[in-house]
C-alpha cells in the first residue's frame, strides 16, 4: 500500500492511498524514512470493539475486520500505529513479523500495489504475504482488561511428588519477569503442572499463552483447557483455524500463529515436548519473544532442551526443574543401532533390507504392536508397498484418515503402524516397540530420536519396549540421542533412589 504524508500543526501524518486526495504524491511505506506517530489523545472516543479485537496483535490490513476509515481515525488520535512490514537493515532485509533475515527467503516481484520492485518474505508466506509496501498495524491505545469469574479452575486430579514441586515453582514465577525450564519427557504429565499457575495468572487479570510448534497438540489441549477453565473463553489458534475474535486471556497457539502477536502476553509457556517433526527454530524463538511483554514470565517445557538453553542452565541464568522421571518411574529405552545397507537404493528397486523384514516378521508373529518411523511420505509409501498386510497400516501428518487409523491401532486392530510423525499423546499402547527406518536421514535430529523413545514402554506392566535404528551410516544425531537418553536414565535413577 502507498501512503501520502500530510503536514498538520501537530506535525506530519500518514494517509493510506484509498483515503488520500487524488493529487497528493504517494509513496510505499518502505520509502518513507520516518514514520510519524500522532500523539495519543486520551479524550478520543475510541471504539471498544476495535480495542478488544486488537489488543496485543500485530496485523496486516487485510486481517482487520474494521473499515479503513475507522482504522485511520484511530491512527490520527494515536490509538493505532502503522509500521513497515519489511525493513532494510545494514546486512539486508528483515521481516518484522517473523524475524526472517535469510537472503534466500526473500524474493521480489513487480508490485501492482506500490508500482515498484517489491521484496516479500517467503518464510511467513503461509500467513498472508508481507512485502515492502505492506504495513503492519498495531494497537497503541490502552489495553483491554481481562477478568475471569470464579471458580477459575475446575480440576481435582492428583499430582505426583515431582509434579507438585514443579507446579509450585511455576506458580511462584507467575506475575514476575523470569524464566524457568521444565525438563519433561513425553508422558510425564506436564500439562497438569501448569494449571495452578495459569489459575493464578487469570485471577490477577494476566494474559497467558501456551505455544507449541504442532497443530495437533493445540487441538488436543484445547478441550482439556476448556474443561479445566470453565469460565474462560479459551482461544485455540492453528493453521486454518485462527478465529479472529475478541482478545482472550488464555490462548493456545501454534508458533506460526504467534506471528500475529506483539507484546501481548504476561505469561508465555512454550511447549516443545512433542515438537517432532517440527523444530523450535530461530523463527519461532523470534515469534515467542515478540509476543511476550517485556516483563513476562516465560516457561519452557522441553524433553530435549537445545544447547542454548542448557548452556544458560549451566551458567545459572536459567532455572531448571526436572520431571524427567516418567510417571511410572522407569527409564527410557536406549536405542540399538542396526546397519541396513543402502536403503534408498533398495527402495528405488522396490525392496526393503532383509534385516527390516526380519524385524517386522518377528513383531507380527509375536503380535506385539510396533511403530515404524520413516523419514518422508515418499519413503512411507514405498515401505508400505513392501510390507503391506492385514495387520500393517500407515499414517502421516496430513493423512485425512489419521484419526480412524490411530483409533484402530489403539484398539489393537493394527499390529504395525508405519508413520512419519509422532502421534497424539492419546496413543499409549501398553506393549510397544519402535523402529526407525532410514535413521541416517536428516529429519531425524537428536531431539526427534529422544521424542521417539518417549513413545516406547509407557506402562507399568511393560516398561521395557525396545527401540531400533536401521541406518546406512551412523549419524551424529543418533549418537547424541543415545547419550542424552542414557543421561536421562541415570538422572531418573538418582531421583528414584533418594
Amino acid at each position: 500500500m502507498r501512503f501520502a504524508t500530510i503536514p498538520t500543526k501537530l506535525g506530519p501524518f500518514l494517509c493510506p492511498e484509498p483515503l488520500a486526495n487524488q493529487s497528493t504524491s504517494l509513496f510505499p511505506i518502505s520509502k518513507l524514512t520516518e514514520l510519524p506517530y500522532p500523539p495519543l489523545q486520551s479524550d478520543f472516543n475510541f471504539d471498544p470493539d476495535l480495542q478488544a479485537f486488537f489488543t496485543g496483535r500485530l496485523l496486516l490490513l487485510d486481517e482487520i475486520p474494521f473499515p479503513l476509515q475507522t482504522i485511520q481515525a484511530h491512527y490520527l488520535h494515536g490509538f493505532i500505529q502503522y509500521e513497515k512490514g519489511i525493513t532494510k537493515e545494514e546486512h539486508g532485509l528483515s521481516c518484522r513479523r517473523c524475524g526472517n533475515q535469510d537472503k534466500e527467503l526473500f524474493a521480489t516481484f513487480s508490485c501492482y500495489r506500490c508500482k515498484e520492485e517489491c521484496a516479500y518474505c517467503r518464510n511467513c508466506i503461509m500467513m498472508g504475504r508481507i512485502s515492502q509496501c505492506t504495513p503492519l498495524i498495531r494497537w497503541a491505545g490502552p489495553a483491554t482488561g481481562f477478568h475471569v469469574e470464579e471458580p477459575i479452575l475446575r480440576w481435582d486430579g492428583q499430582l505426583s511428588e515431582l509434579q507438585s514441586s514443579a507446579s509450585e515453582r511455576v506458580y511462584e514465577l507467575i506475575g514476575h519477569a523470569g524464566e524457568i525450564l521444565v525438563w519433561a519427557v513425553c508422558g510425564s504429565g506436564k500439562t497438569e503442572i501448569l494449571f495452578a499457575g495459569i489459575e493464578k495468572a487469570l485471577r490477577e487479570g494476566l494474559r497467558v499463552c501456551l505455544a507449541t510448534p504442532r497443530t495437533d497438540v493445540v487441538m488436543e489441549l484445547f478441550p482439556r483447557f476448556e474443561q479445566a477453565f470453565p469460565n474462560t473463553q479459551v482461544e485455540a489458534l492453528y493453521g486454518g483455524h485462527s478465529s479472529m475474535d475478541r482478545a482472550s486471556p488464555l490462548v493456545l497457539s501454534t508458533t506460526h500463529q504467534l506471528f500475529r502477536f506483539e507484546k501481548a502476553f504476561d505469561v508465555m509457556i512454550v511447549d516443545e515436548v512433542d515438537a517432532f517433526p517440527y523444530s523450535y527454530d530461530k523463527t519461532l524463538q523470534f515469534a515467542v519473544e515478540k509476543a511476550c511483554k517485556d516483563e513476562a514470565a516465560r516457561i519452557y517445557l522441553s524433553a530435549t532442551p537445545s544447547e542454548d538453553l542448557l548452556a544458560r542452565v549451566r551458567r545459572k541464568e536459567l532455572d531448571v526443574i526436572h520431571i524427567s522421571k516418567r510417571f511410572h518411574g522407569y527409564p527410557l529405552p536406549v536405542p540399538e543401532f542396526t546397519w541396513c545397507g543402502n536403503w534408498k537404493k533398495g527402495l528405488k528397486k522396490g525392496y526393503v533390507p532383509k534385516v527390516l523384514t526380519e524385524w517386522v516378521k518377528r513383531k507380527l508373529d509375536s503380535g506385539r504392536q510396533c511403530f515404524l518411523f520413516v523419514p518422508t511420505v515418499k519413503v512411507l509409501n514405498d515401505v508400505y508397498e513392501c510390507l503391506k498386510s492385514d495387520s500393517v497400516d500407515f499414517v502421516h501428518a496430513e493423512d485425512p484418515e489419521r484419526k480412524e487409523k490411530v483409533n484402530r491401532f489403539r484398539k489393537g486392530e493394527i499390529t504395525m503402524l508405519i508413520t512419519t510423525t509422532i502421534l497424539e499423546r492419546g496413543v499409549t499402547v501398553p506393549e510397544i516397540d519402535v523402529a526407525v527406518f532410514g535413521a541416517d536421514h536428516e529429519v531425524f535430529t537428536s531431539n526427534a530420536f529422544v521424542q521417539i523413545s518417549g513413545r516406547v514402554g509407557r506402562s507399568i506392566e511393560d516398561p521395557y519396549g525396545e527401540v531400533t535404528y536401521f541406518h546406512f551410516g551412523k549419524t551424529k544425531a543418533m549418537a547424541s540421542a543415545k547419550k542424552t537418553i542414557e543421561q536421562h536414565n541415570s538422572r531418573s535413577s538418582r531421583e528414584i533412589d533418594k
Partner: protein, 232 residues
C-alpha cells in the same frame, strides 16, 4: 540448495549441471520434481491434453471428442499447449503461487516453459490474460504476466478485464462458454496480422482463452493460440 517449494535441502547431481548448464539447475528438490507430471507423448492436436489419460473411445484420430464437438461450432483458439498435468500436487503449488502470492515459485518452471514455447510457438508474440483492477490490486501481481515474463520475449498488454472475477467464477461452465464479453481490447495495441500466444496459468475448459482469442481475431490478429502452465 534449498527447494523453492518445500524448503528442504537437496543436492543437484553433477550430471544435470553438465548436461544443461547452471541455468537449468532445478530449483525444486527431487521429491517435488517427482510429483510433477509433464505432458508428453500423444496429445490432442487442439487442446493439448494427453491421450494417455482418458479412454480411447473419446479419441478421434488426433483430436479428443470435446474438440471435435467444439470445432463444429467454430473456435478462435488454434491450439493449446500446457507444460504440466494439473494434479493435486500442482494444484497446491499453484495455490501457493497465486492465492498466497508466492511469486517466486513460478521460476521453477522457467526452463520447461522456454523449451515448450520454442517448440510450439516460435513466431508468436505473447499476450498475458489480464486480471480486473480489483483482483490485480488484491494479489499484487498478475500471474500470467509473471509466467510470460519467464520467456524473455516481448509481451503485449492488449487486453483489459472490466468485470471483477468473483462474478465470473460463480457461473457454470456452459454460461462461461457463451461469455464473450469477459475482456475488452486496449485500443492502439498492435495485433494486426500477428500470430499471438495467449498466456494463462491453467487451461481447464478453454473458455477464458477462447473469449480473449475472439477479441484479438476481431481486431485483426492472424492466429491465436494458448500457452498455459497446467492442463486441468
Amino acid at each position: 540448495m534449498k527447494c523453492l517449494y518445500c524448503k528442504s535441502i537437496f543436492v543437484t547431481s553433477i550430471g544435470w549441471r553438465d548436461l544443461f548448464g547452471l541455468d537449468h539447475e532445478p530449483l525444486l528438490c527431487e521429491d517435488c520434481r517427482g510429483e510433477l507430471v509433464f505432458i508428453e507423448g500423444e496429445i490432442c492436436r487442439q487442446c493439448g491434453r494427453a491421450f494417455s489419460l482418458f479412454p480411447e473411445k473419446y479419441r478421434q484420430n488426433d483430436l479428443c471428442s470435446d474438440c471435435v464437438e467444439w470445432n463444429q461450432k467454430g473456435r478462435s483458439i488454434s491450439k493449446n499447449r500446457s507444460l504440466l498435468q494439473y494434479n493435486s500436487f500442482l494444484q497446491e503449488f499453484m495455490a501457493q503461487f497465486k492465492y498466497r502470492g508466492d511469486a517466486e515459485l513460478i521460476k521453477a518452471f522457467k526452463s520447461g516453459l522456454q523449451t515448450l514455447f520454442n517448440k510450439e510457438f516460435r513466431d508468436s508474440i505473447l499476450v498475458p490474460i489480464p486480471l480486473s483492477k480489483e483482483r490485480h490490486f488484491e494479489r499484487g501481481f498478475n500471474q500470467s504476466v509473471l509466467i510470460a515474463g519467464l520467456l524473455d520475449i516481448p509481451m503485449l498488454d492488449a487486453l483489459a478485464r472490466p468485470l471483477h472475477e468473483e462474478k465470473q467464477s460463480k457461473k457454470s461452465r456452459l454460461d462461461r462458454l457463451g461469455n464473450r464479453t469477459l475482456f475488452s481490447f486496449k485500443t492502439g495495441s498492435e495485433v494486426h496480422g500477428k500470430s499471438i500466444a495467449l498466456v494463462d496459468d491453467i487451461y481447464t475448459t478453454g473458455a477464458t482463452v477462447e473469449a480473449a482469442g475472439k477479441i484479438l481475431l476481431d481486431h485483426g490478429a492472424r492466429k491465436v493460440s494458448s500457452f498455459t502452465v497446467a492442463r486441468g
